[in-house]
């Protein structure tokens, strides 16, 4: 119970710090576009900043960091299944793309 009641006592400054971090990370991801970073470096940077921001929001703003492991796993484990869908759909999309090149593009 201790862990659960602790979260209510966080000082406002905690949120301001996370907010500042989110601001900085968003600026960085905007700068990736602004300075026209391309290809793999671009995609890596976008993903890094995206996951950092998402992690901060989930952990601190949504308080998941201070929840019981039972809830944390219930929320975070099922989305892993999405990786399977991503893999399947990229194979399918590749196939569609190649079919279009073969039959539909003059």
């Amino acid at each position: 119970m201790a862990a659960i009641s602790e979260q209510k006592l966080h000082p406002i400054s905690t949120y301001l710090k996370i907010w500042t971090l989110l601001f900085v990370l968003s600026s960085f991801s905007y700068l990736v576009d602004f300075y026209e970073v391309q290809s793999y470096l671009r995609w890596t940077l976008i993903l890094v900043f995206m996951f950092a921001k998402a992690g901060l929001i989930i952990a601190f703003f949504m308080h998941l960091k201070w929840e019981r492991l039972a809830l944390i796993y219930t929320v975070l484990v099922p989305p892993i299944a999405l990786l399977v869908l991503i893999a399947l759909m990229s194979m399918e999309a590749n196939y569609v793309y190649l079919s279009r090149l073969l039959y539909f593009v003059d």
Partner: protein
Amino acid sequence: MNTDTQSTGIKSLVEDWSADKQTFDISWGKLMMWIFLLSDTFIFSIFLISYMSVRMAATSEWPPTSEVFALTINGTHVPLLLIAIMTFILITSSGTMAMAVNYAYQGNRKRTVILMTITALLGLSFVGMQAFEWTKLIVEEGVRPWENPMGAAQFGAIFFMITGFHGLHVTGGVIYLMIIANRVRCGYYEKREHNIVEITGLYWHFVDLVWVFIFAFFYLW
């Protein structure tokens, strides 16, 4: 409620699931909100994955989002400016919401209501900017769900579906926030107040969270 809650880590996980008690030691409302958000995660993921396959399979060039969403201010051309402002607004609203939850736990009703109202207003301005963006794309650029002058025809369908669905979530969230803020102001919830505000906050942070992914995959990629 019980003695098991003292344990931490994996031990707590096993005990929560196997002991003769309810598994989740949180209010049912909060648990149901988490379950709803989990299901919503899948909905948005499916949208984004469909976007991925549509973009991968497109034979014509995907429209350059950086240019499509650029704004010209005083003759200066700034790429993706509106989207960046929208991102900052949504993050700020998430910050004020987190503070509202904190004040609700401190029992400071007045500050909770003020911060929730600010959150709702920021959300409203986000929806307003989205309406502006849609108008610009539809009227000036001629983007339609089935065609557009900039490139791959699938762009419009994906854009309107994803940002539209997210915009609906924000709109719904603003209404939700205003109802709860008003009830808190009237003292409707009495002692459950902090719990209700926290649940509302979870929904609002999720809306912000989804935007992080849309911003990365749709606008920046």
